[in-house]
């Protein structure tokens, strides 16, 4: 049975249930600025050729998975400090970072929690 796996070095956290927002929900952004020149025409600065891909995930977790994942993001990954490997339920591996330093979770029902995270694929 496939799982969602987060890992960095020897530390690995398995999540049994598939996320509610799946890996197919993705945004792509190119890091560039739009200004206007002195005649008022648009002028686009392209500073990066690699689109930034962001995956919003809503994970469904047991209490044990919640504990392990909170510790993984806080202590092993260090918030946005380090990149880590995310293997989705389809078995696709990606090197990613957290987009934000904050992660929110809520208890959905006894023993079941949901956590929202945004992952950014490393170029």
């Amino acid at each position: 049975m496939q799982k969602t796996v987060f890992s960095l070095g020897a530390v690995r956290v398995d999540v049994a249930l598939p996320p509610l927002r799946r890996a197919g929900d993705r945004t792509s952004t190119l890091h560039q600025r739009r200004e206007r020149d002195s005649s008022g025409s648009p002028y686009i600065y392209t500073k990066s050729l690699a689109p930034r891909r962001t995956y919003p995930l809503r994970l469904v977790l047991s209490a044990n998975e919640l504990d392990l994942l909170r510790a993984f993001f806080r202590d092993t990954v260090g918030g946005v400090r380090r990149a880590f490997t995310w293997t989705d339920h389809q078995g696709t591996e990606r090197q990613v970072r957290l987009v934000k330093s904050a992660r929110r979770h809520q208890q959905e029902k006894p023993g079941r929690f949901v956590m929202d995270i945004d992952l950014e694929e490393c170029p």
Binding site: L30, H31, K47, S48, A50, R52, A63, L66, D67, R70, F73, R74, G78, G79, V80, R81, R82, R97, S101, A102, R103, R104, H105, Q106, Q107, E108, P110, E120, P123
Partner: protein, 141 residues
């Protein structure tokens, strides 16, 4: 079933418990993005756990008591407090309390630590005549 706030000077008890709280793990650390779009995250400076408590259906009197307690006793973020309710036990993730029928139900995903308001704001509105919603954000002291 309800929620009590305890300080050294005073106690506020609300008959109505908030909804299941939302917890945010917040890491304080600098981060930046280069002009080329490469992200840099620096070492973790501190952690904070922000807990949002959301009450629905508070009576006008209970809302007034909550506002007065936060403004006058807590001085907003000025004083820490603990949370509690009789017969409450902690199972490592959530508080458990007995409802009126004696059944055990979950309450709040934290231990009995000291808390402080994380934001000197109470958001509240009248959702129906005489009924109010209110949101408080707390952090562990």
């Amino acid at each position: 079933m309800g929620l009590s706030f305890f300080t050294q000077a005073a106690t506020l008890s609300l008959r109505r418990a908030p909804l299941r709280p939302t917890v945010t793990d917040e890491i304080i650390q600098p981060e930046a993005r280069s002009a080329g779009g490469v992200r840099f995250g620096f070492d973790v400076y501190a952690h904070e756990e922000i807990i949002a408590l959301n009450w629905q259906g508070l009576s006008t009197a209970e809302l007034a008591a909550l506002l007065a307690f936060v403004e006058n006793t807590l001085d907003f973020m000025g004083e820490s407090f603990s949370l509690g309710e009789p017969l409450m036990t902690y199972d490592g993730h959530i508080f458990l309390t007995d409802d009126a029928a004696g059944a055990q139900e979950d309450f709040c995903p934290r231990d009995d630590a000291n808390y402080r308001l994380a934001d000197p704001t109470i958001a509240h509105r009248e959702s129906a005549p005489g009924r109010h919603t209110a949101i408080l954000t707390l952090m562990r002291d």
